[in-house]
Symmetry: C2
Subunit: 335 residues, 2 copies
């Protein structure tokens, strides 16, 4: 995090670089950067090889959060007003774009450390990550916009792979492997691990949105107000009575403004129905099964991975422990 | 334009690639792509060398327009509803981001055509262009947000260099020169030309916003509603009486929503005062002087530029004529 904040330009103009550090300063988990560094070291690399990449990954994540808050019209992020709520959409959109740019600058800096061939492949990985993320977001936005109610769990998982798994797990893992390897390679060893983790992570995120306390740092049940197609909502639509189904459809067909004007009655009813049909429990249980699959997968990969040749053996063992414990952390975290 | 549209993916999901072609399909001028290609050929290159770059430049421009319309809350672009007005901010922001991504993909494709070294320098130029553009936009947004009223023409020109000149002129010129040259070079020969053109272009754009007819394709006097710091407004603030100055300051201190609620009275009064103090005429005259400086500059550069070695002599002469006539076109265009 220090490496990230130290690199943001301090000069004028205001309302740009000065705000690019705002979300990182609010104490996020730094999960994606930590994953990238842990993968690099667990496979025998040194921190310095992946540091630029880890910072870039975290910057792309923060840019994504800023844009996402604009798109969702969100009010809170990490217990403070979102950039768009505090400074308006004009400023926030710029800050999101410049945060992406700072990430690209960091990626470009890998050219000196890792050579032109690896730097170029990191660009291709970055391009692929953005493509999947944007397609995943478009899928989700399209479902809300067209009031799609006939979704299956498989549709949800496909969306997760693009929207969440790719940029939060597959991309940091692949980039960390590339940094360790130091030459072009396919770096796909952890794709399956990343896929399971992404789905588990997104489900836990959606569960937390419904059961959240103040640590969560966003509006409670914001997903319901937005009409987000979560696994819980898909379960509910599949389990409820025809009359309830019509009522849900009617609620979802409104705009967010109309829903807000209606007051909290419908949202409370939805929450209560989700509990009655055990949708939250079954979503959490799906997340835990995915986490177990991820645990088995990382154990398998690490077993066959070459033993690290680094002198500082303990460091790499610590990182392998981090990777093994990550799935459990992801599905039990409180924010 | 065909090269641009042919490359947009056609597959699902909806609300992404399907909308990335929407602004280009509305018949923009394609000015930046035309400039890039003309520079490449005028200095002895072939169209094929700069085609990927020209498409990328135009894609970045369209992404910028989409984001700009979100930031300004604009309703009209090229005589149709803006993407944000038609599909909402969530969809529009994604489409803007994916349009930037399509541009980056095109830039990456230059690696095969022009080699890794030139491709890398094109990335550095692209990074620099984004940096200047975002800093220029932040300057402008900051002036509005902090209700800065003590601006000079020099402040305006500095902002123009970053916000307009760089991405509309310096960047397409540099990229076109790099394509022709085919090896890393500083490619700064047309920087001065681009700077003059950018300032002239922005002033003409601001003038058109006030005197616009339907060809302009945006809301009339939208800049006044937004409180944009144009050269005309800076002239007006410098020329008006103290009482008028207070009234203008008061108008500018309001939010756009408050201005809209006030009705059109104040905007009409501002327009009338700008005419009375000849602010539009003097801005147009400043644009024309800049265009003349650009004409002298391009004549000087082309005189000392090496004669083209291309077989198809007429093509390159046509492109030199285009460059010579561009300044005049820019300050007399009607949209």
């Amino acid at each position: 995090m220090d490496a990230l904040l130290s690199d943001i330009p301090r000069q004028s103009p205001p309302y740009l670089y000065d705000l690019a550090g705002e979300y990182p300063n609010r104490g996020g988990k730094g999960l994606r950067a930590a994953l990238c560094l842990a993968v690099c070291r667990a496979f025998g690399g040194e921190t310095s090889m992946a540091l630029h990449i880890a910072v870039a990954v975290e910057l792309f994540h923060n840019a994504f959060l800023i844009h996402d808050d604009i798109q969702d019209g969100s009010e809170l992020r990490r217990n403070s007003p979102t950039l768009s709520a505090r400074y308006g959409v004009g400023v926030a959109l710029n800050v999101g774009n410049v945060t992406n740019l700072l990430g690209l600058q960091r990626m470009m800096a890998t050219r000196h450390a890792l050579g032109g061939e690896v730097a170029w492949q990191l660009f291709e990985e970055t391009e692929l990550m953005f493509r999947h993320s944007l397609e995943g977001q478009a899928l989700e936005v399209g479902w809300i916009r067209d009031n799609v109610c006939e979704l299956t769990a498989d549709d949800y998982y496909r969306m997760c792979l693009k929207k969440t798994s790719w940029y939060t797990f597959l991309y940091p893992c692949r980039a960390g492997l590339l940094a360790t390897c130091g030459k072009p390679s396919d770096a796909v060893e952890l794709d399956q691990f990343g896929w399971y983790l992404g789905a588990a992570f997104q489900i836990r995120d959606d569960v937390l949105n419904l059961i959240a306390d103040e640590r969560y740092g966003k509006e409670r049940a914001g997903d319901l107000w937005e009409g987000k197609r979560t696994l819980m909502l898909i379960h509910l639509l599949g389990r409820c009575s025809p009359a309830e189904r019509s009522r849900i459809r009617r609620f979802l067909s409104r705009t967010r403004t109309e829903r807000t004007a209606d007051g909290e009655g419908e949202v409370h009813w939805l929450l209560e129905r989700m509990t009655a049909y055990e949708c939250v429990d079954s979503a959490q249980s799906a997340a835990e099964q995915l986490a177990e699959a991820a645990e088995r997968e990382i154990a398998r990969v690490l077993e066959t991975a070459p033993a690290a040749e680094s002198d500082d053996g303990p460091v790499h063992e610590e990182d392998r422990v981090f990777l093994r414990e990550l799935p459990r952390f992801i599905v039990s975290r409180g924010h």
